[in-house]
């Protein structure tokens, strides 16, 4: 296919436009987080901090219990990832290896539940967890996150199971291995990269989540990072810009790193969903 010179130039121009649109907000966040108070107050802000400082980061950690919140987020995200993969794998295996009206329905549910209206579900969940005395606790939050991350985890894992040749399992079965044995010693090792990607995806989901955390966590001791971030914005919407930017950056870094690692797998998961649609 040949493309004219003018068209090519237009394409590069458009691509540059996209890159600016996608990156400028993030670069601005980066810039503000390293600016000293004096430059933040300047009526003519510059792109690069003239006098870069780490003071905003220090202040951010002093102003709000960021460290504690990061700890809570980490506990919630790691537990969610582990539990999610642990319980999703056997189900994904069944969904991938068997096609019955029931598994079709289950797969349909997986699709539908990604469109769940949280606004309705949160009220009963709140009442339920309150009755179980699990409101305002990280374990309660983990319960919610596990179920919330399950659909996409199942979706990803089903794909990975299907990529494993069933003949290997048959061989093991012929050798007399039981179902669970086959799953643990044949499927799981081959599935390892998929399991890791799925776990990391669940990790990000939990690390980034805000709505449930906002409703379910009431005391400062149990709050997660996204909730604490909103406390940097005062009641009147007034914010200390430097620490706000710094804290936001702190919360983003783990997410960006993990995402960079599994980017390709998540995108191919989404792509699979879209293409299959």
């Amino acid at each position: 296919m040949r493309t004219g010179r003018a068209a090519r130039a237009g394409q590069y121009l458009a691509l540059t436009g996209y890159l600016v649109f996608l990156t400028v907000p993030f670069l601005w966040l980066l810039s503000l987080s390293f600016k000293p108070v004096r430059e933040l107050a300047s009526l003519h802000p510059t792109w690069l901090p003239r006098d870069p400082t780490l003071a905003n980061f220090r202040q951010a950690f002093e102003e709000q219990p960021l460290l504690r919140a990061a700890g809570n987020s980490l506990v919630a995200a790691v537990s969610t990832a582990l539990i999610c993969v642990l319980i999703a794998t056997p189900m994904a295996y069944v969904l991938a290896r068997r096609r019955t009206p029931l598994t079709t329905a289950a797969t349909g549910w997986v699709v539908v539940s990604q469109a769940f209206p949280f606004a309705l579900v949160i009220i009963p969940l709140f009442l339920l967890l309150r009755n179980l005395r699990l409101v305002d606790s990280v374990p309660g939050l983990i319960l919610v996150y596990v179920v919330w991350a399950l659909p996409f985890a199942l979706w990803m894992l089903v794909g990975h199971v299907r990529a494993i040749p069933p003949e290997l399992e048959e061989a093991a079965a012929v050798d007399g291995a039981g179902r669970v044995r086959v799953l643990v010693s044949v499927v799981a090792p081959l599935l390892a990269p998929g399991l890791a990607a799925t776990a990391l995806f669940a990790f990000i989901t939990a690390w980034n989540e805000f709505f449930f955390a906002l409703v379910l966590l009431k005391t400062p001791e149990s709050r997660t990072l996204p909730v604490v971030l909103t406390h940097f914005i005062g009641a009147e919407g007034v914010a200390d810009l430097g620490p706000l930017a710094a804290a936001a950056l702190v919360a983003t870094v783990p997410s960006l790193v993990v995402f960079a690692v599994i980017q390709r797998r998540i995108t191919s998961g989404i792509a699979a969903g879209a293409v299959r649609a």
Partner: protein
């Protein structure tokens, strides 16, 4: 279309096969007859799903027909459809619902157009492509709360890059985008477009890479221009994906909460109070659980219609089932 190994070629260059990619049966028919006894394998995931997802959904619908309130000592009573008839008179909620629809369409449509453009560009052999493919992920990886905070900093009347750029261009002075009655909704819509661009782009890119190259080349040989080729070759192949992703985006946006909560909190004067924000306030600020659940039900009803569109599109659009 290719037979799906559930994970079709990733949009980026292939990595050395980390896992065996076999041609699995399309749609994954019974690869190995898994006997009925294997059903217990489903339980560890099924039980939490039933208890914490399906259960609460049904419970929520039931709550909508009660007068449940926070911290009330009197027992909760069934009140039939009273909450719903109250909703028909609640102009604030209707306004919020209108804003929600406006927001959902306002985000989804331009986002689709932008994502289609980007996907078409990323499908070309362009030099900056690898960079664009890496960077397009940024909005996706960021926590929604951070996206909200970040854009507050972009929109900031004094320290914001938007106003500074406008000043440099000689266009107006420090405007407070997020608190202006007329600018707040467009301002949050732009953020919504930005935040969801990656997913839509990736989905469309996957669709594009599934369109047969040979058809393109044949059409080009026949002298079809870019537009003709797009209309005759690209779009027909892309349509099912486009329909699905659009329906999903509409649903996600109708359910949106965190982004706008952080950006404006629903203000100014309720101009950006999306339905989910309204339900949240009604339930957790005013303690009206039953009434808020009724609102949630209305949201579910609308979402269900969209979901039906999505599923119908899925059934009729895909030839790879």
């Amino acid at each position: 279309m290719t037979s799906t190994t559930s994970a079709p070629p990733p949009p980026t260059r292939r990595r050395p096969a980390a896992r065996p990619v076999t041609r699995s049966r399309r749609g994954g028919g019974p690869a190995r007859p898994l006997d009925h006894g294997a059903w217990f394998l489903v339980l560890p995931a099924l039980i939490p799903i039933l208890l914490l997802s399906v259960g609460p959904l049904l419970y929520g619908v039931a709550l909508a027909f009660t007068d449940a309130q926070a911290g009330r000592t009197a027992p909760t009573r069934w009140i039939g459809t009273l909450n719903f008839s109250d909703l028909t008179r609640d102009t604030l909620f209707q306004e919020s619902f209108g804003i929600g629809l406006l927001w959902a369409v306002g985000v989804t449509v331009p986002q689709f157009a932008l994502a289609l453009g980007l996907a078409l560009l990323l499908d070309q052999e362009l030099r900056l492509r690898w960079l664009a493919r890496a960077l397009v992920i940024i909005p996706w990886a960021m926590p929604e709360v951070v996206v909200g905070i970040m854009w507050r900093l972009v929109y900031h009347p004094d320290a914001g890059v938007l106003n500074e750029t406008l000043r440099d261009l000689g266009l107006g002075t420090g405007r407070d985008w997020l608190t202006g009655l007329g600018t707040a909704l467009p301002a949050v819509v732009l953020v919504g477009v930005w935040a969801g661009l990656p997913q839509t782009t990736v989905a469309l890119l996957a669709g594009l890479q599934n369109t047969p190259r040979e058809l393109h080349e044949a059409a080009a040989l026949d002298g079809a221009g870019a537009w003709r080729r797009f209309r005759a070759v690209t779009w027909p192949a892309l349509r099912p994906v486009a329909l699905a992703i659009t329906a999903l985006n509409l649903i996600w946006n109708l359910n949106a909460f965190a982004l706008v909560y952080v950006l404006t909190g629903g203000g100014p004067g309720g101009r950006t109070r999306l339905p989910a924000l309204f339900v949240y306030e009604e339930a957790f600020r005013y303690g009206q659980f039953g009434y808020a659940a009724a609102m949630g039900c209305v949201l579910v009803a609308v979402v269900s219609v969209l979901l039906a569109v999505f599923l119908v599109g899925r059934l009729t659009g895909g030839d790879d089932r």
